[in-house]
């Protein structure tokens, strides 16, 4: 049994009357590829936002590496190794691909806004960034402004930026939404490789049920903020509550 990396205990989050999360609990072990699925409005993105510290839950705790994250800012959480990508691209559009990835790589090399530039650290960052670019086949685009790339590549740059920081756990919000089949396959392969190579644990929010069931080691199914199912991917299709949420009630 590998050790538990991330735990959520009884998370509650509501916006005025709308209950986004109702007592969500789960845990992710080291090396997992944990998928969160559910219909639109199920609270998947809200869950990620709570985990990465953008929303503050009204109740419940998030424990990462055995430490309660309550009260920690998003950037503190990122620096502890809790990476994040977004559903709608949130790249630095005016910066080159290389600079985007370098910015991510600084997390792995350490330190920040340094008013005394140090060549040694810069080389380290550069090499680190180039390694990730190479890995995700982005090297030819390194000097292109990120905003000028096609959508599929931008998605890949976002994953590259997050991976360059060598997170222990990476929260991916619908990385495959809007991609073509080939791009999906590429990205899935990159993610699996990253998991194997760098030991990154992945938490994936996804709509594509088939991709999820093929890739993941554990699944959390949500609907209207509640957990419908948690367990092995094989059990998802058999679960009556999931079938009801996804396919509608049978007559």
């Amino acid at each position: 049994m590998s050790k538990t990396l991330l735990e959520a205990h009884d998370l509650h989050l509501s916006f005025r009357g709308v209950k986004a999360l109702v007592g969500v609990s789960f845990s992710v072990s080291e090396g997992d590829l944990f998928a969160v699925i559910g219909p639109n409005g199920a609270g998947k993105t809200s869950l990620l936002n709570v985990l990465s510290g953008l929303y503050r839950p009204q109740q419940g705790r998030v424990v990462f590496l055995g430490e309660d994250l309550a009260g920690q800012s998003p950037q503190q959480r990122v620096r502890k190794g809790l990476g994040r990508t977004f559903q709608n691209l949130e790249l630095f559009r005016g910066m080159t691909v290389l600079d985007n990835v370098k910015l991510g790589a600084e997390l792995a090399v350490g330190g920040y806004t340094d008013l005394v530039p140090k060549a040694q650290i810069e080389w380290k960052i550069r090499h680190h960034a180039e390694e990730v670019l190479d890995y995700l086949h982005l090297s030819p685009y390194r000097h292109v402004p990120a905003g000028a790339l096609p959508y599929g590549l931008q998605k890949r740059v976002e994953v590259a930026r997050a991976l360059a920081g060598r997170p222990k756990l990476l929260l991916l919000d619908e990385p495959m939404a809007g991609l073509s089949l080939e791009e999906k396959q590429d990205l899935a392969r990159f993610l699996l490789d990253a998991r194997r190579e760098w030991g990154v644990t992945l938490v994936l929010v996804e709509h594509d049920l088939r991709a999820v069931l093929e890739l993941s080691t554990g699944v959390l199914v949500m609907s209207y903020g509640e957990v419908l199912y948690q367990g092995a991917p094989a059990g998802v299709r058999e679960n009556p509550r999931v079938a009801e949420a996804y396919l509608g009630r049978s007559a």
Binding site: S73, R79, E90, G94, D99, E122
Partner: protein
């Protein structure tokens, strides 16, 4: 014939184009080619030799360009770098000028430095609203600061000399050289400006610069890439004010006096114009922008003078109009600013005899 043209093209591209960069180190260097290094050296030597070549008035204008470039560069770090707008740059120039007016003579460099540091401290304070407000609202907050500073400059007579301002004693010397001599002031300014230009360039291409660009492009995402927003914004404000303050100290020595009308809102807008006309993204932009903004009015007034002395008064009004029209045309025809234009000219000459 085809062979000949190919050989020629090859020879030219080897000579004039950027050579293929073979490793990351070359890719990140300032001037990656021998030609680049050569022209950089020529430019620096040329600037150093300027006082020996230029008559007094053109040298005065050149020093003004230097000062405007420095203040503009500071604003550029803030506006083009961190994406925070400020209408208060002239106030920082003023702070630097007033502080350095109290510490001059042999201590002039120290006074200028002190002016920069005091401006930086005030810059941090001004940066605090930027943590909560953005865009136009921030512009209004900095506008309020500009107007407040203007008021303080006029009223705090003990420190600033009020509306009359403070005058540098005519006999003041720096290490035996008279500070009333523009050549001395030019070299004094250059001693600050050259390191500061290189520092800014380095800063923008390393981690501090990346953090600023990240804040500019997408602050949510910057946060989730581990950028400390507070620190990033405040350092941008502090540095921008520091550059302004240093520029102010040099300006004080150039004019030989400080009066509040050198630091009014119009100058803040002029510095913003330098950033915009110069083109966002590079240090070169600030220099070219300053060149344009300071030099064009001078050229226009020389042109007005050429028609004969009796027209000068009439034409001086048209001078401002022509200046405004030029800026407008610029923004419409070359949105990337002078830097973009420069890049196009350079590309043209790089492939000059055989463009394809």
């Amino acid at each position: 014939m085809y062979r000949l043209s190919q050989t020629l093209t090859d020879a030219f591209s080897r000579r004039f184009s950027r050579t293929v960069r073979e490793d990351y180190r070359q890719d990140e260097a300032y001037a990656s080619t021998p030609q680049g290094r050569f022209w950089l050296a020529v430019a620096i030597v040329g600037v150093l030799a300027l006082p020996l070549l230029l008559p007094p008035y053109p040298l005065f204008v050149t020093t003004q360009i230097l000062i405007a470039a420095l203040a503009g560069l500071g604003l550029h770090l803030l506006v083009g770098g961190a994406g925070q707008i400020s209408l208060g740059q002239a106030a920082f120039v003023g702070v630097g000028a007033y502080v350095s007016s109290h510490l001059t003579g042999d201590l002039a460099p120290l006074g200028i430095l002190a002016g920069g540091l005091v401006a930086a401290l005030i810059g941090i304070v001004l940066g605090i609203p930027s943590l909560r407000i953005k865009g136009v609202y921030l512009a209004i907050a900095t506008l309020a600061f500009q107007l407040l500073a203007d008021y303080v400059f006029k009223r705090w007579t003990g420190f600033t000399g009020g509306v009359a301002g403070r005058t540098l004693p005519a006999e003041a010397t720096f290490l035996g050289l008279p500070l009333a001599d523009d050549r001395v002031v030019f070299y004094l300014g250059l001693a600050f400006a050259i390191p500061m230009f290189f520092y800014a360039k380095r800063l923008l291409s390393t981690r501090a610069g990346r953090a600023w660009f990240a804040v500019r492009d997408n602050d949510l995402s910057a946060q989730l890439s581990g950028v400390d927003l507070v620190r990033s914004k405040l350092t941008a404000f502090a540095l921008s004010a520091f550059y302004g303050g240093i520029a102010g100290g040099i300006l004080m020595h150039l004019i030989g006096a400080v009066t509040p009308e050198n630091f009014v809102l119009a100058f803040s807008i002029q510095y913003l114009a330098i950033v915009i006309v110069g083109g966002a993204g590079t240090v070169l932009g600030a220099v070219l922008g300053a060149l344009f903004i300071v030099l064009i009015p001078e050229i226009l007034s020389v042109m007005a003078g050429a028609f004969g002395p009796q027209y000068v008064a009439q034409l001086s009004a048209w001078r401002s109009v022509a200046f405004g029209v030029l800026i407008l045309l610029f923004l419409i025809l070359e949105p990337r600013g002078l830097v973009g234009l420069w890049g196009r000219i350079r590309d043209y000459f790089r492939t000059w005899p055989l463009p394809y």
